[in-house]
Symmetry: C2
Subunit: 389 residues, 2 copies
């Protein structure tokens, strides 16, 4: 179990290195590996590059173990994938969706997509080892249910697990979408960073926290709920009831609102043109106008970046992470946004906290949540199965 988990997280390595990592003797490691290979859980694929001396084998999880299903439910998007045990994507589908349509509609579509993708990848329902699902709201991780989700009230206390249990014997794990982005990046990094944050900016703003090398969910599962941090005491009223929440002032809908205002006030010919032809302006249109040099669009992008940076400055002072990765729809808006965030953080955070701080877009880009769902499925399945040792 420990050995399988280590293999999963380190993605290849020799028996020797595994033994070192787990504090096992070489002979114990040899015996364990032999047992797991015999059980069909591990394979010794390929050969590691020789570092002098005899060549070492490269341990991998056996592809014959089965497949994982990763589902990333965003507020306005749906991603489903079938993944190999090493998280290689075997089949993937993405489409727009509206989470407010409720669990009945959205999960029926998820169910259909999983079936379709499994068929496309050539697997059956029985070969599914585990299912990981990310949702855009606070989750009680133990029971796998959303708790008071502001963006999707119809999902409150709905059991996603029971819904999918009808089709699959495999265990189903549900977590907040940003936690899964953090888990995905942690896996990509092979745990080489211990303390970092992933901020998702889309319809809302959330944060995934990695602390002491593990995803941190908080005492009640709501850690990282940074969208309602106040950045302006006299700001507009947020749907949560308070004034000046960063989400109400700088997330996707706020960017759209500022753009429509600029278009209607005649401050931007480009945005006005966009509004006229499309009937609406999306955040991505503001990004496009900004990259084309539109002054009003630039001001909007900069304002959103500065407000998010201001929120982030508080968090950085408190948490002192080594890295902040920014993901979500906002990343498509371009580099000016990132520059504005950085400027704001470096100005407002303490020097010691920012001296080695790196702020960048999520390296896994749009895949972070989906990969994270796969990591969750694999990791928790290994725990639940309790395969010895």
């Amino acid at each position: 179990m420990q050995l399988l988990e280590t293999t999963f997280w380190s993605a290849g390595g020799s028996r020797h290195r595994m033994a070192e990592r787990l504090g096992f003797s070489k002979s114990k490691a040899n015996a364990l590996v032999a047992g797991l290979v015999e059980q069909g859980l591990l394979t010794e694929a390929g050969l590691q590059r020789s570092t002098g001396g005899r060549r070492a084998e490269n341990l991998q999880l056996n592809a014959g173990l089965g497949v994982l299903v990763g589902v990333d439910i965003g507020a306005t998007s749906l991603d489903v994938a079938v993944l190999a045990p090493d998280l290689a994507v075997l089949a993937h589908h993405a489409e727009p969706a509206d989470v407010r349509e409720g669990p009945g509609v959205v999960l029926a579509r998820v169910r259909g997509l999983i079936k379709e993708l499994l068929a496309r990848a050539g697997f059956t329902a029985k070969q599914v080892m585990g299912i990981g699902i990310g949702v855009p709201g606070p989750v009680n991780f133990e029971i796998g249910q959303l708790v008071n989700p502001p963006l999707m009230p119809a999902w409150d206390s709905f059991s996603i697990r029971d819904y999918l249990r009808e089709d699959y014997a495999a265990p189903v794990f549900v977590d907040n979408d940003v936690n899964l982005m953090a888990l995905g990046e942690l896996w990509r990094l092979k745990r080489s960073l211990s303390n970092f944050l992933v901020i998702k900016v889309g319809t809302g703003i959330g944060c995934g926290i990695v602390c002491h090398g593990e995803v941190y969910r908080g005492a009640a599962g709501s850690a990282g709920d940074v969208g309602h941090i106040c950045v302006d005491q006299e700001g507009p009223r947020c749907h949560c009831g308070n004034l000046g929440c960063v989400e109400a002032m700088a997330a996707g809908p706020a960017i759209t609102r500022m753009a429509v205002q600029a278009a209607e006030a005649g401050e931007s010919a480009g945005l006005a043109e966009c509004l006229r032809t499309q009937g609406r302006i999306e955040a991505i249109d503001v990004g496009q106008a900004s990259r084309a040099g539109d002054a009003a669009a630039n001001a909007i992008v900069q304002r959103a970046g500065n407000l998010i940076g201001q929120m982030l400055a508080s968090i950085v002072n408190f948490f002192n992470p080594s890295h902040v990765f920014i993901g979500g729809g906002i990343t498509r808006i371009g580099p000016l946004f990132l520059a504005a965030v950085r400027q704001s953080v470096y100005q407002r955070s303490l020097a010691l906290s920012t001296r080695h701080l790196e702020i960048q877009y999520t390296p896994l880009e749009g895949q972070a949540g989906l990969i994270g769902a796969g990591v969750l499925a694999m990791q928790e399945t290994l725990k639940v199965r309790g395969v010895a040792p």
Copy 2:
């Protein structure tokens, strides 16, 4: 080693329970305990209350192991204690101090006090097992030095460890004062809480973080530096260069400043009287006036509490702790302050984050930092010594 550490953290327990906690077999635990008792590291003191069946012995660290020295250096105070391995205080001295006088002056006094207290408790320098020191600034924990401490620039990169090494063979460990308060409370709680915060409000404002059951120091050791979180974009300028930092608006000096203003503006006969007779007003005087029903003092206490609560609301949204313990000089100001903090946090944080959140004064009161220094000394000494097993 693991067994000694478990004994230290659990403060008494039977072999049986130790074995359970560490996942050892009963026979292995028996052999280990026997060995440690023989080495004089553990004693089997007293008998645990029987729960039916045979009576179990109560394992304790042997008092003959030696003593610990705990030092809590505040911005304006100095606490030194000699502690038994179970952290019972054997001798203790507290006095006002000014950390700005620099390490030469302050540490000479610390050295003198340690000598005096050891003599009073009847121990020699050789019997000191470990020394733990808390300082009011950011610390590089590995090397035990302060890094850019804003309140005590003369201490930057000074080696407290080398200074005390002249007198003591025992290892010296240095940490931020609020981290030690958190460590002290974690020890008091026998690790029964995994995710909580300790906020110290005195001359400055700092925060100790316990995450996944361990003190969290951040990527560069500056985690918990919450004093410079902005609570008012148009607030007064802080010594850090930014506007509206919570420390500049609500810590001890700000409370004093507001009180002097109220006294001079004729808004409070009580505070004016205090200013006339003492020549100054301390935060504790404001607390006294507030408890006596002075409206101006009440307004000041409430304002400070609300501002700190506003900062805390951001942190609570982000970290979702189960408990927030407030310590430092501010606790002497009375219950109105705590009420104002709570009001502000409950109003501004998300319902899910505050549903089970408890906000109270540090249960260890003024001793939290000193006990934490003792815990640090003991825990790190056990690690350094690497006593088997």
